[in-house]
């Protein structure tokens, strides 16, 4: 047990809880609708908060622990892959962009499913997307919780499972009481803390060693496959291309990332948010992913690669500072998990319950149900994570790939292609989902690419083909998503014409 490390971590988590509960009060006093506040922070985020929430919710256990773990095992070829995520924020905000913001204001959407519901007006589309979201986001959360538990395991010496239970309880409670506004603000703080932690780790490595030159030269001799391409990760150009899809442009298909496109205040916030996001994400990619291969020399023979960086920090750094540095990835994990818990609970409450079970539920019931479903899913995921995954990174990849293969075309084509219709949406989601799961289970990297390559292709082509085979969407939908005038005005004009 390293109390000197543990105490700063606990203090940090407590501070986070306090911030969350402060914003929970804010949530209660605010007059705007509970929905808009809880799920999209009242559409009022400025650029810095926007960029940090986006980065922190995408780069999390995956980047800090997962990426360093794989880098530890496979060398520099893996950080090259991780760097594909650098401009992720630019793609998400640039492509969804202002149109997404305008449309979500028009139709009052606060989740991706709200958007899909209005665009395709089909129960099958809602149910398919809800299922995809619940399945893959839960898998994603398993990886996050496992990452948090690994940190506590290294620090406390308690078994992994204990760490998991403690950590799980904190995160779930934080989300239940904070809602989105709480998440967004604490996200920004945590993103910043993580950035700082990353910088500190680099400084410490520089001080404790004779510079990277010596470490990497050593690596060249001991593990030549760790400094070359394709290297131990087998990075060929086609494989790297598919990772550009997975970590880059297809990130639009992640509901917890795409929903950020509904949260910014105005177009200036969006523009600045894009710039901040690429800088921050770039620092994250360099900062954390590049450390993995170096740790291999500094601390050889770690049995669980995911533990390598954590153990290095515990060993090299004075206790209190180690605590503060490790609070950073814990923070990132918390922010990812709480925004994902919100996505899943909103899926259950808004997309399934309000649509199919009780459309007339009172605000009170909705509020209660939001809390309980958050609590329920959080608990379920913690229980699943009790069996730790081998390498966290690959669970993360499976989850984001699955979400992207299911949701990419329905979101992007729904927003920009007038012809996209119900059947195209259903076909693209089903085919994307099925092909991704099959490709992952049955083949190792079909066509030399991550399974996302083939299933994203199928996801898009089936959207196009099936939409062309069936009827155009109704003029009402086109008007709502492309027209210049609100429906009331159009009705008025129609009446006048009829007269």
């Amino acid at each position: 047990m390293r109390l000197d490390i543990l105490i700063p971590i606990i203090l940090y988590l407590l501070a986070t809880l306090l911030v969350g509960s402060y914003f929970h009060k804010h949530l209660k006093n605010n007059k705007s609708s509970f929905h808009e506040e809880f799920f999209v922070g009242g559409r009022s985020l400025g650029p810095l908060v926007l960029a940090f929430t986006m980065v922190a919710s995408a780069a999390s256990a995956g980047t800090f622990i997962g990426a360093t773990g794989v880098g530890y095992e496979q060398g520099f070829s893996w950080p090259l892959v991780v760097a594909c995520q650098t401009a992720m924020g630019v793609y998400i905000l640039g492509i969804l962009g202002k149109k997404f913001a305008i449309i979500s204001r028009r139709i009052g959407a606060v989740t991706i499913t709200d958007f899909l519901k209005e665009r395709y007006q089909s129960h099958a589309v809602i149910i398919a997307s809800a299922l995809g979201i619940l399945i893959f986001i839960s898998a994603y959360m398993v990886a996050q919780f496992a990452g948090g538990a690994r940190i506590l395991e290294a620090v406390t010496g308690f078994p992994y499972q204990w760490g998991l239970l403690i950590f799980g309880a904190v995160v779930v409670l934080l989300t239940v009481f904070g809602g989105y506004r709480g998440v967004a603000i604490t996200d920004a703080i945590q993103g910043f803390a993580m950035l700082l932690g990353g910088v500190l780790v680099w400084i410490i490595i520089m001080i404790k060693t004779n510079g990277f030159e010596a470490i990497v030269s050593q690596l060249t001799i001991d593990h030549p496959e760790m400094v070359t391409l394709p290297g131990a990760s087998g990075i060929t150009p086609t494989l790297l291309f598919s990772y550009f899809l997975l970590f880059g442009i297809a990130m639009i298909g992640l509901p917890h990332a795409a929903v950020r496109g509904m949260t910014f205040k105005d177009s200036k916030s969006m523009h600045k948010g894009m710039i901040y996001a690429v800088i921050i994400m770039g620092l994250f990619s360099i900062g954390f992913a590049s450390i993995g291969p170096l740790v291999r020399i500094l601390l050889p023979g770690v049995e669980i690669p995911d533990m390598a960086l954590i153990l290095l920090i515990v060993e090299l750094v004075p206790g209190w500072l180690a605590g503060l540095i490790l609070a950073a990835p814990l923070a990132a994990i918390i922010s990812t998990v709480d925004s994902m818990l919100l996505v899943t609970s909103s899926t259950i409450v808004k997309d399934l319950f309000l649509n199919y079970i009780n459309p007339n539920a009172s605000e009170r019931t909705v509020t209660k149900l939001s809390y309980f479903s958050t609590l329920f899913i959080g608990t379920a995921v913690v229980l699943i994570a009790l069996t730790p995954p081998e390498l966290i990174q690959f669970v993360v990849i499976f989850a984001i790939g699955g979400l992207e293969a299911t949701l990419f075309a329905v979101i992007v084509f729904g927003l920009y292609w007038k012809r996209a219709n119900k059947l195209g949406a259903i076909a693209s989601m089903t085919i994307g989902f099925v092909s991704y799961v099959t490709a992952t289970m049955m083949f190792e990297n079909p066509f030399g690419m991550d399974p996302i390559g083939i299933s994203l292709f199928l996801n898009i082509t089936s959207m196009v083909v099936f939409s062309y085979m069936t009827e155009k969407p109704s003029i009402e939908i086109i008007n709502k998503f492309w027209g210049a005038d609100p429906p009331q005005k159009i009705n008025q004009v129609n009446k006048n014409i009829a007269k």
Binding site: F76, P79, L80, A83, T86, A87, V90, Y91, G94, I95, G97, K98, K99, A101, I102, R105, R106, I107, G211, F212, E213, I215, V216, T220, P224, E225, V227, T228, L229, P237, L240, F241, F244, G248, I249, D266, S267, H271, K272, M274, I275, V278, I279, G282, S285, I286, S290, Y416, I475, E476, I478, N479, W482, G483, A484, D485, P486, I490, N494, I497
Partner: protein, 96 residues
Amino acid sequence: MNKGIFKEDERFKQCNKEVMYTIIFFIFNIVLVFALAFPLGYNVEASEIKLIAGFPAWYFYGVLIAIGLLCISTYLMVKFLFKDMPLDGYIEEEDE
């Protein structure tokens, strides 16, 4: 329904342009990283890989330099090609 009355929101023209710019940016990103990393590192023996600032050369250019260039080009793209606009659901227009 009378199709003749459909009038597209003027703002979406600019939105569509920005999507195209972003896609071009994505392609630029891929080309940049490929051009910097693969010629220097692909199938090169470990003993022949040069180190720059302590990193393998392909990594130094393909990751570190590429990220720097991406930040600069994002700034330029947003500054010169993206335009401010109101994000309200509908824009009040004067009746003709």
